[in-house]
Amino acid sequence: MSADSTTPDVILCPGGPMLLRGDHVVADDEGVEHRTDRPLSAVCRCGKSATKPWCDGTHKVIPEKLRP
């Protein structure tokens, strides 16, 4: 990525969360809505976070083949 290219606002981290830049409302898998409250948010992709829909780092302790 060069500094003058357009910077993505949604970034998929290999094996980890999806980073989301800006103010968004995220519906979790039960349809409950959660508003972002920081400049960048990490949305859980492994399904094991205890703070869903947000990432809490749990992907690092599950087997590699189960990671996103």
Binding site: G15, G16, R38, P39, S41, A42, C55, D56, G57, K60
Partner: protein, 317 residues
């Protein structure tokens, strides 16, 4: 503002006298009595570059004699950190820096204070740990903030975005250092910066000094962001354990809240630090890569030294 500590040897005593005396510092003719005296001396001088000391002349930050002493002490610290470091891990270019970095973090099997607090620590032990942590948490993110203007565009923008969150996103009440101060106050502890420095063992002083060393020296910008990345990447899960331990002990919700905030915040920050700060810094300035690994490894090692020291002291090693 910090409070001046009690001296722990001839050098820290001479420096405290020089600060209290004010004006141009006279030649400091004594050396450190031991490693603790050296570490405290360096901590005292570094504190002049943050918010200083009440009643002490701010011009002393760049007093030539005090800068000379600081330089000697920080050269010793840097040499020690480099001697401990086993060197860059070997990784294939196709694996990529980020995957290699997270693999190093995963392979780290150092002792965990968070796990001990989660399951076994007494209130007294948890309080002792929080006092030691206060040295850094009350100026959280400040050392790496000094690195910001020294970075090329892409990592500079990413570090600013990370720090905007650390510093509360424009809301002082959400500043991480402030959250920790609120937690300390709720526990009836002193939230003055450096308020517990007199109780800090060598390992805690060294951990704090290493961050200031990396942050204040432009040439060590790689080590500064490498340290940041390792710190963030070892934070989310341990912070949950800390919060669980503090809840188990019935300690105030304010101090639990500090750790809970870091579960989510640092799950973001670790990705930003590794993928959006370190990786683009290597792309722009390949010579910084070795120091990025040095900073990261030192972060893990310095924390392991504190953990071993405290767990041994508590008979839990």
């Amino acid at each position: 503002m910090a409070v001046l500590p009690k001296p722990r040897g001839p050098l820290s005593e001479a420096l405290i006298s020089a600060l209290l005396r004010g004006g141009d510092a006279r030649p400091v003719e004594v050396g450190p009595g031991d490693a603790e005296d050296a570490a405290l001396s360096l901590w005292i001088l570094y504190e002049l570059s943050y918010r200083g000391y009440d009643g002490i002349d701010d011009r002393l930050e760049f007093d030539p004699e005090l800068v000379r002493v600081r330089r000697t002490l920080e050269d010793d610290l840097e040499q020690r950190l480099r001697e401990r470091w086993p060197g860059c891990p070997a990784y294939e270019p196709e694996q990529g820096f980020a995957a290699a970095f997270f693999a190093m973090i995963e392979a780290d099997d150092g002792p965990s204070l968070a796990r001990f607090v989660q399951r076994k620590a007494s209130v007294e032990q948890a309080v002792e740990l929080l006092k030691h942590r206060s040295l850094y948490h009350l100026k959280e993110s400040d050392p790496v903030a000094l690195t910001l203007p020294r970075l090329p565009a892409a990592p500079r923008a990413a570090l600013a975005e990370l720090q905007y969150d650390e510093y509360g996103g424009g809301r002082p009440e959400r500043l991480h250092a402030h959250l920790f101060a609120e937690g300390m106050a709720a526990m009836g502890l002193d939230a003055t910066e450096g308020g517990y420095v007199d109780e800090a063992p060598l390992e805690v002083l060294e951990q704090n000094n290493a961050m200031s060393l990396f942050g204040l020296n432009r040439r060590l910008r790689g080590a500064s962001v490498g340290h940041l990345a390792a710190f963030e990447a070892t934070s989310s899960l341990p912070c949950r354990k800390m919060a669980q331990g503090l809840e188990r002990l019935g300690l105030p919700p304010e101090i639990q809240a500090y750790y809970l905030e870091h579960v989510e915040a640092d799950a973001v920050h670790e990705q930003v630090a590794v993928r959006m700060i370190c990786e683009p810094l290597i792309a722009a300035e390949p010579d910084t890569e070795d120091d990025i690994w040095l900073g990261a490894w030192s972060c893990l090692d310095l924390e392991a030294r504190i953990a071993r020291r405290l767990l041994e002291q508590w008979g839990a090693a």
